[in-house]
Amino acid sequence: MGFLQTPLAMVAPLTCPKCGAPLSSYIVKGPCPGCRREIEAHAYPALLSPPKIGNLPERIDDEQDVATCFHHPDKKAVAVCDHSGIFLCGLCDIPMGGKHFSPQALAQLKAKGQLPQLVQSRTRWDSICMSLAILGFVPPVLPYFFWITAPATIYLVIRHWNSPPSMVNPPRWRLRFIFALIFATLQLTIILIVLWVIFDRILNGPGPSAQE
């Protein structure tokens, strides 16, 4: 087993997630002292590490021949922004995933959704299109409203074909778009056939069998 089977009571802030009681007894796999629920705990070294403190900018005292921060000319540069290439002091430097960013670059990348670590949510346009396409086949919608749902599905598929997909499962996302498009096209084909039959009857009158 990978985790350490040790008394977690030694780790002060660890509490039972259900009742909030501190795990005061020696628990790795045992009952909570508060609610008596069975708890299995896996503890990692980060539990004991002190809170991380950011770097402080280093002031340049005299006319030293050193690179300075782009935003703070009196501070020594400690890193280069991996996005914009500007020099950053300890205050401006934001390390993330082994890279360094300036606050402006980070805001820009977050707005564009180019940093997966900062993506918080995404709209599932594939699910919306799929639901709309399937809704067109549901009996109350089928005869009355699918002339609205089918074009709406096709519009949404085209509009959001290049929108950011599900971050964790993108291949399925395109597949669902394709299926939605097929369903909507099928519905539109039905609409066109029905319209063609109706106009045919109006223009040419009823068929020979009806005339007999």
């Binding site: 040790t6 299995e40 705990a41 070294p45 996005h83 180019q114 949510s121 599932r124």
Partner: protein, 177 residues
């Protein structure tokens, strides 16, 4: 700049309980530097990122949901049996009801005991609703242990003992079970 599309995510086993899934379908994914908890609410998928460097622990708490499910399915089964035996005209419906309840009961039993799983960081204690069955949660925790150990190393007994002494001298007097 790495294209986000180049990042690959591997899904860990486990699904949210049925009723929870209707409102919030959660899934846990492994990325190159951590875990991503994806929760789909209606048509929005929200993500919570947990870096392996920041994970402090995993807590798995046993729950009694499996027993409640057993009770509910058992009651449905009895109702089906009652309908099948008592009235002639509800016999077929009763047996169908009974059969469905028994299948659900068996699946519930096969999935194993229920639990609530939590990921803990310095600032957050997050329930992972997709790890709601004990066998799946234990297996996932074992996998995560390996990935975290690659980043953080192993927590040693002497480290814990030193921390314990520093935090509270009165603690650590009990005996291991």
């Amino acid at each position: 700049m790495a294209n986000p599309k180049d990042r690959t995510y591997t899904r860990l086993r486990g699904r949210s309980p049925f009723l929870t899934r209707l409102a919030n379908a959660a899934s846990l994914w492994k990325s190159e530097d951590g875990l991503v908890l994806a929760t789909q609410t209606a048509y929005t998928e929200s993500y919570q990122h947990f870096r392996f460097d920041d994970l402090q622990g995993i807590l798995i708490v046993k729950t009694r949901r499996q027993l409640w499910y057993m009770l509910i399915y058992g009651l449905f089964g009895l109702l089906g049996l009652f309908l099948a035996v008592v009235w002639e005209y509800t016999r077929m419906l009763g047996w169908i009801f009974f059969g469905a309840a028994m299948i659900a009961h068996m699946l519930n039993w096969l999935k194993g005991e229920t639990c609530a799983t939590y990921l803990r960081t310095a600032v957050k204690l997050q329930e992972v609703s997709c790890l709601s069955r004990l066998p799946v949660a234990t297996a996932a925790a074992a996998e995560i242990d390996g990935w975290v150990q690659e980043r953080q190393g192993t927590l040693r007994l002497d480290q814990l003992a030193a921390a314990s002494t520093a935090l509270s001298p009165s603690r650590g007097q009990g005996a291991a079970p």
